[in-house]
Amino acid sequence: MKIWVRYLATLYDLMGTMRDVLEVPDGSTVMDLIKAIDEKYGGRLSREILDGGRLKDEYNILVNGRAIDYLAGLGTRLKDGDEVVFLPPVGGGL
């Protein structure tokens, strides 16, 4: 399935693009998406935003405009056509 991805602010600088499209297997989670992005970009994203498999406090991720904190965290399941936004490091997260 197709996932529409955006990297904002410092993550845009890191990834070199604001918009991205990734093909991931059905039933993938946000964590699976991060792994797929890592494969494409040599592990750059998770080195920046993860710490021991956890999302660092100052980062957050939106799935269709909702912070994953209010969904199922990195285990949030994605569906075809979802938009996932990687927010810049700000405040106490989202």
Binding site: L8, L62, V90, G91, G93
Partner: protein
């Protein structure tokens, strides 16, 4: 002991009197917005026309302004607003607060009106009123240069503090702001520029050599402690991100949340907004990063558009709000056209937010066939033409110059006004960031996001995380509680003074730090709770001004936001539940009845002198 020196300048008699406020008053209201609102409530006669000589302008720094490197060079303007017809306050950064205090005064009160245009110069305690006929009609940038040149300064805005109006203020345009040095800073909201225009006051120049730390008990310790706080402030991730991208960091974030108003708040998401983002503009148009005096964050971005149909001369200061107001909110998604409109608005001396609201209302009225005007969403040429007509009050511009609220009434469709208390809303849809359902519509000055900035907790998690879409009783109660806390803290930022951007991280500057700094500087003995009580007192004084005027007392949700957002990530959400249920809790927590403070509240806050208003 703290001492706050004010020059009261009557432009009719040209008489200048000095007033000194001491601990007894300062410990209750501080300076800036607090002292300004207190004096405004006491002094501005009920029912006067805000554009008559009996209105007053309070241009106040605060007792800690420009003393510590903690984004403290902020100045607040308080007056009776020609736009809303009641009290307003408007805050600007730059270097004006710094040079004002250096000039020997912490605040200026301007009253009366001059016969012919004048400007004021304050240099090391001397106040002079000079003719300004030759400057009338000049744009804001050229006016500042002229003030500097005529008074022996190099033509660089950092050389002295300047506050000026452009053609919009001169022509009593009710959405005119006051431009401040350095550079393109604005006390924008509430039409404060028109009040200056009504007094025939083109500008104010301030400069001096006063030692701002003279009254501080232990100078070395104050500097050491405030430096420590500055280091902590700069360790916060939002402060760092603001430094890199400026406020327009927000476009992509707010759009992703579905809270980015498009075409006069028709919806909360625009697919086509990529080129308005801070990321895109930084890469293509930003030429330098800039800071207000005494600010370690340095969030300001200057842009240039050097070629093409929208090129302009020199640099412009650009922000998230301006980019939205003169971009997405008028259906314009061309960054160069947008930046040029921002430059034009700054030069003509507008409040960019209200200008965007007014243009958007005009376009909507035109599209509904209620206003005969050949303009469509995103029509850059027609919009620029309207901006100039509005500044000059020529033909239809005369109606736009009255602002979005009056425009919508005149053309028979009040529903196109998207604001509160007569002032249009800024760049967040309260249906998708529900804290705004309470904070926008309880804001004293109306149409306001800065009396309690809900993304602080809904996006940044400070002081605690709140889900922006949650409407359970627990979430509603939490929102009401945090909005009230933020309203008190923001009243402090505008009165201390320091920048609200220093409150966006857990590492920022809060009531505890303020109590510490005041105790250190002036040998006060105040607690963090005392500081918040000052904020509460200020907020109540402002509300009492509405009570006195018999205007805008009860808080009301703008009916448009009862409709669900039609598209985007927050599709289907409305602001109705949060407002209708939240306002009851809000009033209860404040001890108010229907938006009005009670005697018990006045007594608790030491405001018994105003009980006659109840």
């Amino acid at each position: 002991m703290a001492v706050f020196r004010v020059a009261r300048i009557d432009l009719h008699t040209e008489k200048v009197t000095e007033e000194v406020y001491k601990d007894d008053v300062l410990k209750k209201f501080l300076g800036g917005r607090g002292l300004g609102s207190y004096l405004a409530l006491k002094e501005i006669p009920k029912g006067i026309d805000p554009l008559s000589p009996s209105n007053r302008l309070y241009i106040f720094a605060g007792p800690l302004s420009a003393m510590a490197n903690l984004s403290t060079s902020r100045v607040t303007v308080v007056t009776k607003s020609p736009l809303t017809g009641s009290l307003t306050h408007s805050n600007a950064g730059g270097n004006f607060a710094y040079w004002l205090r250096k000039s020997g005064y912490d605040g200026l009160i301007i009253e009366g009106a001059a016969e012919d245009p004048v400007y004021i110069v304050v240099k090391d305690g001397d106040v002079a009123i000079k003719p300004a006929k030759h400057l009338w009609g000049k744009w804001t940038g050229a006016t500042i240069k002229a003030l500097l040149r005529e008074n022996g300064f190099p033509e660089e805005e950092k050389a002295a503090g300047a506050a000026v109006i452009g053609p919009a203020g001169e022509n009593l345009v009710k959405i005119a702001g006051i431009r401040m040095s350095d550079y393109e800073r604005f006390a924008g909201r509430g039409g404060v520029g028109a009040v200056m225009g009504s007094k025939k006051l083109k500008g104010i120049l301030v400069w001096g050599t006063r030692d701002l730390l003279k009254d501080v008990k232990d100078r070395a310790k104050f500097i050491a402690e405030s430096t420590k706080l500055a280091q902590r402030l700069m360790s916060g991730p939002t402060a760092k991100a603001l430094h890199i991208y400026g406020t327009n960091l927000l476009t992509a974030v707010i759009n992703s949340l579905g809270a980015y108003p498009v075409r006069n708040f028709e919806t909360g998401h625009a697919e086509e907004a990529d080129k308005l983002t801070g990321e895109y503009i930084k890469k293509n148009y930003v030429v330098e990063t800039h800071a207000c005096m005494m600010c370690p964050i340095a969030c300001t971005q200057h842009v240039m558009v050097k070629s093409g149909p929208y090129k302009f001369v020199g640099k412009a200061k650009y922000e998230y709000e301006n980019t939205w107001a003169l971009g997405a909110n008028v259906g314009l998604f061309d960054p160069e056209a947008d930046l040029r409109l921002q430059k034009l608005a700054n030069e003509l001396g507008f409040d960019t937010i209200s200008l965007g609201n007014t243009l958007a209302a005009a376009v909507e009225l035109a599209k509904k066939g209620k206003l005969k005007l050949d303009v469509d969403w995103g029509d850059a040429g027609a919009l620029a033409d309207l901006v100039i007509r509005t500044a000059n009050r020529s033909d239809i511009g005369d109606d736009l110059a009255e602002g979005d609220y009056r425009l919508s009434l005149k053309y028979g469709d009040p529903s196109v006004f998207r604001g509160s208390r007569g002032q249009g809303l800024p760049a967040y849809d309260p249906r998708a960031l529900k804290g705004f359902a309470l904070s926008y519509f309880t804001a004293n000055r109306g149409g306001d996001h800065l009396e309690a900035y809900s993304p602080t907790w809904e996006v940044l998690g400070v002081p605690e995380k709140v889900d922006p879409l949650c409407e359970t009783p627990e979430c509603i109660e939490k929102q009401a509680r945090i909005v009230i806390y933020a309203q008190h803290l923001m009243a402090l930022t505008d009165s201390v003074t320091y920048c609200k951007f220093a409150t966006l991280d857990h590492e920022g500057i809060f009531e505890k730090d303020l109590a510490y700094l005041f105790n250190l500087a002036y040998d006060w003995d105040v607690t963090p709770e005392d500081m918040l009580a000052i904020g509460e007192r200020i907020f109540n004084v402002e509300r009492l001004f509405h009570v006195k005027e018999g205007k805008w007392v009860k808080d009301e949700l703008n009916p448009h936001f009862r409709n669900p957002i039609p598209t985007g990530p927050a599709k289907g959400h409305s602001a109705a539940k949060m407002f209708d249920e939240g306002i009851k809790i809000y009033y209860k927590l404040r001890g108010w009845v229907d938006g009005k403070p009670t005697y018990d509240v006045l007594k608790r806050l030491g405001l018994e002198e105003f009980q006659y208003l109840l």
